[in-house]
Symmetry: none
DNA sequence: AATGAATGAGTTTTCATTCAT
DNA sequence: AATGAATGAAAACTCATTCAT
């Protein structure tokens, strides 16, 4: 064994997935070569095709894994619904928790849609639609009654999701701009900050429910 | 004149920029070939290097142009500040107006950051920082007083920007999910919906200065 | 095995080196294309980059190999020095023998210095300096005593080397001019002719240790 | 006039020739681009083809000019022959004088033989043959009588020429190796050193004729 | 006489993938 | 399971030259 990097204890297949996650997130799928990938993973070039059939297959495996986890997290909330506000907060906490586990995966799953993979595009669309069909019931009925304004899910839904996702996509940029670091303490309150903002806006009334438990 | 496609009235240079905008947005920078680009623009392959030096130079020109326009729009508001709420609404309207002009550019400018263009990354970061240094004063002081909760610009700022940007990045997906179309009528009210959401949240009080309803 | 030309017995790497030696010598490094080279070697185009990294890497490998051999030959003489005249003759014989093995290599190693390979230029300069530092002691001390005129190594050294090298560089031209052929018989006496000329000039006294006549 | 380099007083045609001489000598004909050339000369790109028809035409003009001058110098000596030794010395002085005027030209005329210019190759060969037919009579008859050894023009001729030419081709290298500079003083004695070496060798008898006059 | 935009064939290099071992 | 040599297509880019002005 004379490999030069990476976590050599783990399986080759896992090492490839880890290397791909890192490189695809940093450089993009199209801009990352399989040779570079094999080097980073410390495996032979041919192993990528051996395990995943093709570079495309590797990306597909990555994205499927991400949505698998996403589904688990979301459906768990959908299966035991509570009051509206609590749903929002649980959703924010769960998604933030998931995204923190592997921010690179977020970028890949959200960003990459190779033009020559229509089946992957369809797969993603189907997954998202399926997720939403479970999520919206958590909010839609209740918010219609509570809101003093007409509620447009096509506007509010993406806005809520984006306020979490965007944070992870742009985290390096945001950190540089505000010359700060997002540490564990920040992420304890972050989901509730997001939920508060979504529920009451920047100038809205104080929430009765405490943040960060 | 024996060109074979594209909008032949405009200049070659402009046709290349237009083709690049469309293709980069749809397929990504790395996945788009210069041959494909030249075909789409109806120009000779060499014209890309002739006008822009390299494929990278073309991307840079594209992004610089976008931020140029972005700056103009934002600084125009910053130069004549008004009350907090009005600033938010003007900002939302201006940015939505700009993004509608060329949604493809939004995707490119926000998404593409080729690993081997550190100068471009720095350029973008500098532009954003400069913009923000003009924008935040419009909101920061006033919102601190108005808000009943502690205000965190690092959370609320990106959330506000993302609620607009994300809409344009994900528009095709959102349209498919809700089986609808974003027409002119929608965009008349959209900026104020975004502003309302940011100001008062989904369940917040009705705005007095409602627009479009 | 379905290769179409060249000497198929040898390894691809060697075939590339052989083809490059021939083509670079005949046409020059810059004027020889990698496509042409791959054809001549009977290998796939990509093999050149596979084995040598780049066209430049191929040239470098060629030149390094030449100087490697040159060093061996010269240092072998330097390691067992004899009387001055004998040193000169042994040097001439050794160098002529080396150059005859691969005249094309001589041309390449002496002529090619691509502007964009400063490291190669430095490599060559270092090699030559190293060689000379071993060679000059063979002659310098003794010739100073023997010569009736002041001895200038900067003039005589290059003149001696050039009288051998030039022959191989200009051989095709010389052959055409004198309408003759340089055969084995010629090369048996050639080194001593060169040595005689260097030692005694065209009108100098006959050498006692004449060879080949 | 907003040109950035070169001697702007001279004609465009001359500036192109000067730039080509410098660049071809440094980088080689094949490795020098016409755009680079036009920049160096401070003329428009198209002027090269306008004046010389093609890049090849430019090289041809350069080489023809060199051999024109070479011929003049050599034939001037051939027209007024003297005793053998004097011929040798006059030849050396004349050629060194010529080469010093434009060392770059020497390199180009001696080195460049583009494969796709057979007419130029023939032109050069014809010129050289013509020159030699005038030069050899200066030496051949007389040296045969004087020499104590059999004289081989095919060996001695090139050796004599090379001892001068090589000096100019390798001058930068030689200077670096010996950490010295070839100044005017050096070139006053250089032709006679070369002639001495050719006539009597390194250990031959002292010449009666003084050097450097 | 002079320009510079435009051309198309050419360049070197890199790519994902395959295959014999 | 694993290797690494080999492939052929495609990549980005450069070239000398031409042409309308």
């Amino acid at each position: 064994m004379n490999r030069e990097n990476g976590d050599m204890g783990t399986e080759p297949r896992e090492r490839i997935l880890a290397a791909a996650t890192s490189l695809f997130a940093r450089q993009g799928y199209a801009a990352t070569g399989v040779r570079e990938l094999a080097d980073e993973a410390g495996v032979n070039l041919s192993m990528i095709n051996y395990y995943f059939g093709s570079k495309q297959g590797l990306l597909k495996a990555l994205i499927e894994r991400f949505f698998q986890r996403y589904s688990e997290v979301v459906l768990q909330i959908a299966d035991s619904p509570g009051p509206f506000e609590e749903n929002i907060r649980r959703f924010a906490r769960a998604v933030v928790g998931l995204f923190r586990e592997d921010p690179d995966m977020v970028r890949i799953a959200m960003t990459e849609l190779p033009m020559d993979m229509p089946d992957l595009a369809e797969f993603k669309a189907a997954k998202v639609r399926h997720l939403l069909s479970h999520v919206y019931p958590l909010f839609l009925d209740q918010v219609q009654k509570m809101s003093e304004r007409p509620f447009e899910i096509q506007v509010a839904g993406p806005a809520f999701v984006s306020s979490i996702t965007w944070h992870f996509l742009m985290r390096p940029v945001i950190q540089r701009i505000f010359e700060m670091d997002f540490d564990d303490a920040f992420y304890e309150t972050f989901p509730d900050r997001i939920a508060d903002l979504f529920l009451y806006g920047v100038v809205g009334r104080a929430p009765e429910t405490g943040k960060g438990d």
